[in-house]
Symmetry: C2
Subunit: 191 residues, 2 copies
């Protein structure tokens, strides 16, 4: 998605520790029209796939998951990172290790919101080491649902998880793939 690459080049900042900061438009401040464009692009990629549900993980994936849900007219569900008082007891869970926070947390989705017969599209803002996506795939498997694929805004291609998932036969569509980045700039993979 050329518009996303242009936006990253214009507004993104590379920070130490392989962090690509895109908070101005994607995941802290959301550029509403642009988020909806991303949702429509995801819908275009999966429009023939009979997706019944979109699944993401809180918090930064929610905006584009909602936009994709609006564009595809299917419900979106987000996995919670901590069990809360309002969380139904009947949940599917998976452990996820966060390199950002250097800890393992649990993600959980209520069993009532995903199940057999569902065809689930995973949506997230970033794919880096793939841990969040693998956790979500684990929940989809536990629920007996089918995986339609993974639609990602920005894949850090140099971390390899996207290609590992593809090698396993999982459909991964990333709207921008960063092959390398440093303070001097960002280089995208041709798609």
């Amino acid at each position: 998605m050329k518009a996303l690459e242009d936006k990253i080049l214009k507004e993104g900042t590379v920070l130490p520790g392989n962090v690509l900061k895109v908070g101005s438009f994607l995941n802290q401040q959301m550029d509403s029209d642009f988020i909806m464009d991303i949702g429509r692009e995801i819908a275009r990629l999966y429009e023939g796939e009979r997706v019944t549900r979109i699944l993401t993980v809180e918090s930064s994936g929610i905006a584009i998951a909602v936009a994709a849900g609006i564009a595809l007219h299917v419900p979106s569900v987000f996995a919670k990172k901590h069990k809360s008082a309002n969380m139904p007891k009947e949940v599917y869970t998976a452990p996820v290790y966060s390199y950002t926070h250097k800890e393992t947390y649990e993600i959980a989705v209520a069993k009532e919101y995903i199940g057999k017969g569902d065809k689930v599209l995973i949506v997230d803002d970033f794919l880096a080491n793939g841990n969040a996506v693998r956790g979500l795939i684990g929940i989809i498997e536990k629920a007996g649902a089918d995986l339609a694929g993974c639609a990602i805004a920005i894949e850090k291609g140099f971390q390899g998880a996207g290609d590992e998932l593809r090698a396993q036969g999982i459909r991964v569509d990333s709207l921008a793939i960063v092959d390398s980045m440093d303070e001097s700039g960002v280089i995208f993979r041709a798609q």
Copy 2:
């Protein structure tokens, strides 16, 4: 908003501890078309107000904040509940006490995403004791921005915070106000 009251009556569940569970359509699983209807209704209420930014707090407010942002064509920003590694150092913060989790946490918004000249609309899924909204108002004041008002999906009217805010001259629009609720049902305030 009659459609929201109907949806609460049809799909909502009252749980012990004054919890109104609406996870099937509003804040865990999001009914995309309905979330967009809520966004359009919020946009209709504030269309003449020259709102420049929408502000919410992670996670459950993000979906309707994004929908309202899409409908109003203005960016939405969410306050984070914990400072994270990717969070700019320059943040406005406010303490918020959570009755659900029985603890005080800090919410934070990067200074670059809110400032003088902004007219900010607070959006959230619930207004109960008002602590989250008061925290967000505190951040808007620290930023020197103006408050357009608070657009809430569901106000728990019996907890009083909405009327307290109105008595202080703050505009609060709640699409459904619950005046009382128990296992036998939910009663809405006429609006």
